[in-house]
Amino acid sequence: MPDRSTADSKAGWREEIRVRLAGLHLPPAREADVIEELSQHLDDRYRELCAGGASHEAAVRESLAELDDTDLVRELAGVERERAREPLAIGSGSAAASPRALFGLWHDVRFGARLLIKDKGVTFVVVVTLAIAIAANTIVFGLSDLLWFTPVPVANAKRLAAIFAADERSTTSRDPLSIPQYRDVVRQSAAFDSVAAMFGRQLSLTGAGEPQPVIAVLATANIFTTLGLDPVLGRTFLPAEDTPGRPNVAVLSHRFWTSRFQADPGVVGRTLILNGTPHAVVGVLTPTIEVGSLGQVDLWIPADTSSSTTRQRDRDLAVYGVLRDGQTVASANADLAAITERLRRDYPVTDGRLLIHALSMRDANVSPDTPILLTMAGVVVGLVLLLACANVGTVMQARASTRQREIALRLALGATRARLVRQLISEGAFLGVISGAVGVALAAAAVPGVKLLTSDSYIQTLELSTDTLIFAAVLSILTPVLFGVIPALQSSRPNLNEDLKDAARVGPSRRLHNRRSALVITQVAFALTVLIISGLVVRSVFAREQVPLGIASADVLCVRVRFDPPKYGDDDSRIRTVDAVLARLSALPGVDSVAATSRVPVFDPEPQRQFTIAGRQQSGSEIPWAVEATMTSRFREVMKLPVLDGRSFTNEDRAASARVAVISREAVRRYWPSQSPLGQRITLLDGAGNPTGDAIAIVGVVDDVKGVSLTEPAPPRIYFPLAQRVGESVVFTVRTARDTTLMAALFRGALRAEDADLALSEIRPLDTMLDTRLFRPFLLVVALFAAFAAIGLVLALTGVYGVAAFSTGQRRHEIAIRLALGATSAEVTRLVVARSFRPIGVGLLLGALGGWSVANIMRGLLFGTTTLDPSIYITVIALLAFGGVAASFVPARRAAASDPAFVLKQG
């Protein structure tokens, strides 16, 4: 009862009110508020009564009567119970959370951001880990987007198909068509609105500065309308401009126009002399087509495809067709299959094993290996992302476990699970968005590096497109789901008793231990899968580099020279010049040997030639064939190509002497398996399959030389003396150990001294040329997979370390007790490491299984290795195992070195 002398003392009213409200069990802060408010009301009422003349006792009685209502507790109970059901925001000091969902979400994000800023170390680790994984995924998506999803830069891309020839024994190959085959497709196909063809040639350009070789595309007049390409200046070909008798015209590529003519708008109408023939420039082509091999083209010239009346085996033409409305690539292939059937029947010699097929421009622009490679890269970076999420999940769980008691209490006080989950997801989303932004920045920084690793002009156009950025954004929002929602759901699961006990417990519970072990198992398994896949891919690429080519490419310089009419109108003039050039080159200081050939081995396209063997009946698929080339007498010295039997060519093997040939070991194996080929006579077949020319005597056998496809066996080869079969294009080769730049200058000087107008290509080292053609394309693949493997390994070991450190920390009391009871540091270290290794061991087993499963999918990519390559498996398993032991060793040693008394005192 309030005392008269302290009538306005709150203590009196408060005590009365507190007694009445005791049964409500209000939260202390709320109770205090209610008591204060009600006591103020009573105090005011008391003063009013006293001011009205009431006595102290009457005023007190009257004031207290305000509380005398059985409704008070019931009404307050109803209101306060509903108020208590309002979910409490974690960390919120006030129970009066805003009812509006957006405000609550914003509050959660702000709260999460504050927590993360407070915990800078953890936030940094999480952001960097996720950012690297997101960057890797973004790069792979960017490459996939460029190579798979970005439309080919021609107007008719969706309706355009590329038409290829193949051999029935190698149905996926993409060979050019011959002119007669192209004409057959044009005449007989019902699937295409128009069909155009083109082929590349090196021509001599004179009359515009220094003579130089130019890469020209000779094409049918409808090539530009078929591909949907427009000029930026002048015009393209007119219809029928490719028929004989029409004026010679040329369309420049945009690149050539810019580099050679400085983008001169007056170039239209200029005359260029190409192989001695004037051509009028009629236009400049759009630059959009300058990707891939078309990026090397200098100019376009109409090609006459009507004059060839005999069937030829020479296949040169890249053919494109615009599908008719309603036609698809599949229906076009059915149409082409019917055409192929007719050709096989009508021309069994040349087309007996022919297959003509069409591919979409998308598929035609990428090599057959690209889809599998990109898929594997996608699998690997996906695993790296999951690994990063598992890693981050470990960190987040460690953080969450320090808040376990707080979360459990709040759940007990009425916070809803949904609100808790929302809070934890908001924190995760905040991290994900920041990581995504950093990841995109890393990916953008990595793009120039990716371009440096490849000479593919298509990949030089790689950029972070809008689609790629959207992908990165989606990934950075989804990753919180992977590492935020699941632990959030687990944290919010109402096993409150356990959680409250756990938090108070000294040492980890079984439940938490199992959870952490699962994380370690997952991380190790993912990392091992990534390492196995990457290891197999890298091994395959390196195995390709170890394949012996059959020639010694180091210390050899090559230059291609054109001997075009009218200056070199016959074989004699060409041979004379070749001999003169060889003599000049041999006289250069530092030159070991010189030779000339029709084609750079392995590098240049390799035409096949059919022939018959005297005294044998062969037909159809039995007709022998070999890759043909010509060479001078010292070619084998330059290339260090061993002669296995008989002799190589001599200077006596001239145009007027008997026809001779040298064949390769593979040709012997196939066609003379049980006898010596020396002295055997063969006759070449022409494009129609008829014998042509004199019989040729086999005089020697040389070792095999690989073809462009290093994974295939070496093809059978046949070599002829250059003097007996000289063409318009000759490659001079020089073996020299001297400085390349110096020798190239001397090389060029010698050629120009012989003929100042000779059109020369760039003088290049042979090993550089082969590296660019055979190995450079794979450099990017090696770099990407090696990077993914390194990231995966670091993430896994970091994760193992993190879990080991945390677990050891949790067990510090147990360790302290062991030490106090006499265990040595070594025994404790062994115990901790052994415990950490159990989940690592399980992870290694699962990872090995996972890696083997994925390897089986990419079996076709592997070369020089198998899906169960023991050296790869043993290496990566040992790497991860030792790494895991080392990662858990450090915290183990730290724990073993701790002072048990100090730890136990800490409690």
């Binding site: 408010e37 009600l38 009404e75 209101v79």
Partner: protein, 118 residues
């Protein structure tokens, strides 16, 4: 006694139905604390309506929980801190709606009562 208890019950029911309208109306113009509200109601009703602590504060807390009013502790100079309530925009909407309902209800009652008396 019976008549008094019946009247008290009617009074209680009427008060319950109109209490929210009363509180919201009084807060329309300015913020007030609980005691102020109880005195105003008593004064403007000329003593007909009286709200005690037991009925006033649960009502205030209920209205606050619904978001129709908002309470804040305010300390004015020279005074102890008090909890003042103000009308929220949501509360203003409810007040408007309840006024309209009460007006229609009162008109209906008068028409019925008027017809019977007539």
């Amino acid at each position: 006694m019976q008549h008094n208890s019946r009247a008290a019950g009617l009074d209680r029911e009427l008060k319950k139905g109109s209490a929210e309208l009363l509180i919201l109306s009084l807060l329309e113009d300015q913020s007030r604390h609980g005691y102020d509200l109880s005195k105003l109601i008593e004064a403007r009703s000329e003593g007909v309506l009286k709200f005690r602590v037991a009925s006033l504060y649960p009502l205030l807390y209920r209205l606050e929980k619904r978001g129709w009013i908002q309470g804040r502790w305010i300390e004015k100079s020279g005074q102890r801190r008090r909890r003042y309530y103000k009308l929220t925009p949501a509360g203003a909407q409810i007040l408007k709606s309840q006024r309209s309902t009460w007006r229609a209800f009162a008109d209906a009652i008068s028409r019925i009562a008027g017809i019977e008396h007539a």
